[in-house]
């Protein structure tokens, strides 16, 4: 039995708004075995970032976890008081965001911000902390760490800032790193560097990674297992090779078809018609049915459950086997 870093079971979380309850995450179960990179792929508003925030305990009003359990290395996180979550955040798990500038304090130097976590969690003295910060900066590929230690975030380029974010997240050697669209704001050449860095760090330290992205290319390059999300639900899950070779859900297929092949030159691109559904007014049946080319009577009336197609390959679709 391999060890699970993260185990999410039947997680539900959403927003309580004037217009009613918005079920952003609906009955999501997910596991991350130790040392693996697991990806969540989906479009904006599908709830993938909500999962990350739920795990980190960073949901803000009016968002709330409404059910299910989240276990980090066997320890239940839901219902933990804030003080205890603070002790876990940054030490056992850490998160990096899409736009590093907004998650860095603009008026503190890089070194000071990074040291903070060590002083807090590891009770280190300042000099030892400084040593470790410099080490970590070097490790994430920052040249001249001494110089960067005293730099302010705005003095760094986007790529360097994201490296600093990663170094900051890694400083206490967390068991789990959550990366929410870590390269979306970066240029391709920098994106490739950052992705390789995350993968190498995971391999070297045995850290698990939850990678959230809308980019199938990034998912294909990075992940061992992949979860596809649509309108708050997991619609398909499999290991990366199965998912890219023999995906079963029509939504997954639509996403795959939207990826532009660099070798051929088609006149038109296959596209998924329609728009992402409004979570307040989900269709009665399968949430994807209004956009689905395969949808029949049953799909519009009934909500499909997750079904196992092969060991480790699950799909939420009545037509899954046929597709």
């Amino acid at each position: 039995m391999e060890e699970l870093t993260l185990k999410i079971e039947h997680l539900c979380s959403g927003f309580f708004t004037e217009r009613g309850y918005v079920p952003a995450v609906d009955d999501v179960s997910l596991v991350i075995p130790q040392g693996q990179v697991v990806g969540i792929v989906g479009e904006s508003g599908c709830g993938k970032s909500m999962i990350a925030r739920s795990v980190m305990g960073l949901l803000k009003y009016p968002g709330r976890i409404t059910g299910g359990s989240i276990q980090l290395a066997g320890r239940e996180l839901t219902g933990l008081p804030d003080r205890q979550m603070q002790r876990i955040r940054g030490k056992d798990m850490a998160m990096i965001f899409q736009e590093p500038m907004t998650s860095l304090n603009p008026v503190a130097t890089v070194g000071r911000q990074m040291r903070e976590a060590l002083l807090l969690h590891e009770k280190m003295d300042k000099n030892a902390a400084r040593e470790q910060v410099l080490n970590m900066l070097e490790r994430v590929g920052i040249s001249e760490p001494e110089k960067r230690y005293n730099a302010y975030p705005h003095e760094l380029s986007g790529g360097l800032r994201q490296r600093v974010m990663i170094a900051m997240a890694m400083i206490c050697m967390p068991k789990l790193l959550i990366a929410d669209e870590p390269t979306t704001a970066l240029d391709v050449t920098i994106e490739a560097q950052i992705l390789r860095l995350i993968r190498d760090l995971s391999r070297q330290t045995g850290m698990s990674v939850l990678l959230i992205s809308h980019n199938l290319g990034v998912i294909a390059q990075m992940c061992d297992a992949v979860y596809v999300m649509y309108a708050g639900k997991i619609v398909e899950q499999a290991d990366a090779f199965t998912l890219f070779d023999s995906h079963a859900h029509p939504y997954t297929k639509g996403l795959m078809d939207s990826v532009i092949d660099l070798k051929t030159n088609p006149r038109r691109l296959p596209a998924i018609g329609g728009v992402v559904p409004n979570l307040l007014h989900l269709p009665a049946g399968c949430a994807f049915s209004p956009r689905c080319p395969l949808a029949g009577e049953r799909c519009r009336a009934e909500r499909p459950e997750m079904e196992q197609l092969a060991p480790g390959h699950m799909c939420r679709c009545f037509e899954g086997r046929r597709a």
Binding site: K60, Y61, G90, S103
Partner: protein, 302 residues
């Protein structure tokens, strides 16, 4: 801790995208009413006060100008809820009639200064360069003067009348409005939809009227509620000093001044208008804060 400061706006942004629409003005106001009870209460109270001022002749049986000299300096009683003054006039009645002047003085010059300040500020912000330089230096000069002193000089030279008070108060407060309008305009000018209008070839005047002004309105509303108390206080000060509203008209500031001599024997004459001023000023500030929180997307998260 700095490491886990989340992007505060992200949640509301994500929320908006989840629902597929963002909040309309009425929803924002309703949220304010629900979350900020104090602001909503202040709004209701101000509305009531305006109604009382408008319907003063209906609400009170007494006359505001002539009093019953036999009834002078009577303490509060069933007949005179807030007592009477040195001329035997009912203080509550004077207070209600005075509210007309005080509220008008709060609203009219503020509105006028907002129109002037907004026009100049938006012109300065949009045109930039020389126009910006001239307008804003002028505003700086205005702001450098102690505003009440300036108002006093104007009142002394022009004489005390309601119209002159409007003039003086407008003159001292347009500059700060211009500043706000200018900075709003500069940030809106950088927005893509203004660039889109420019790329179509829309003329500057039309861009300001169609694109910049409507998007400045929320901050102008907030600024308005925050400037009204200032104007009311300035008028009170001027009238207290005897260079504002002249007898036999009444305004709250004037009433405080007149009651000063009787502060020991008949404190209600001064206290009632003082309390009224304080109430209105506080209500305006609470309402302004509430509106700012409700309308400003940057502050729009708990």
């Amino acid at each position: 801790m700095a490491l886990f400061k989340t992007k505060a706006a992200a949640v509301s942004e994500e929320l908006a995208s989840q629902i597929g629409e963002s909040d309309t003005l009425s929803i924002k106001l309703r949220r304010m009413v629900r979350r900020n009870k104090l602001a909503a209460f202040s709004g209701v109270l101000l509305a009531l006060l305006v109604l009382c001022a408008v319907f003063a002749p209906v609400l009170t049986p007494y006359d505001a100008v002539t009093g019953d000299i036999a009834q002078r300096l009577k303490p509060p009683s069933a007949a005179h809820w807030l007592g009477t003054d040195e001329m035997g006039r009912d203080v509550l009645t004077r207070l209600l009639y005075g509210a007309r002047v005080s509220l008008a003085v709060g609203v009219v010059p503020t509105l006028a200064s907002m129109i002037i300040g907004a026009a100049l500020g938006m012109a300065a912000g949009y045109l930039g360069g020389k126009a910006d330089h001239i307008i804003m230096r002028l505003a700086d000069v205005m702001l450098a003067f102690p505003s009440l002193l300036l108002a006093m000089v104007i009142m002394y030279t022009l004489g005390g009348s309601v119209l002159n008070i409007f003039l003086a108060l407008t003159l001292i407060s347009w500059a700060s409005v211009a500043r706000v309008a200018r900075s709003e305009t500069i940030s809106l000018k950088e927005s893509e939809y203004v660039e889109a209008a420019r790329s179509i070839g829309v003329r500057p005047a039309r861009i300001i009227l169609r694109h910049i002004l409507p998007n400045c309105i929320p901050s102008f509303i907030v600024l308005f509620t925050l400037n009204v108390p200032g104007a009311i206080l300035s008028e009170s000060s001027l009238s207290f000093l005897g260079i504002g509203i002249q007898l036999p008209n009444s305004s709250w500031g004037l009433m405080v001044n007149m009651g000063r001599q009787f502060l020991y024997n008949a404190p209600w004459i001064s206290l009632a208008p003082s309390a009224a001023i304080m109430l209105v000023v506080l209500c305006c500030n609470f309402l302004g804060d509430g509106l700012r929180d409700a309308l400003d997307p940057h502050l729009n998260n708990d």
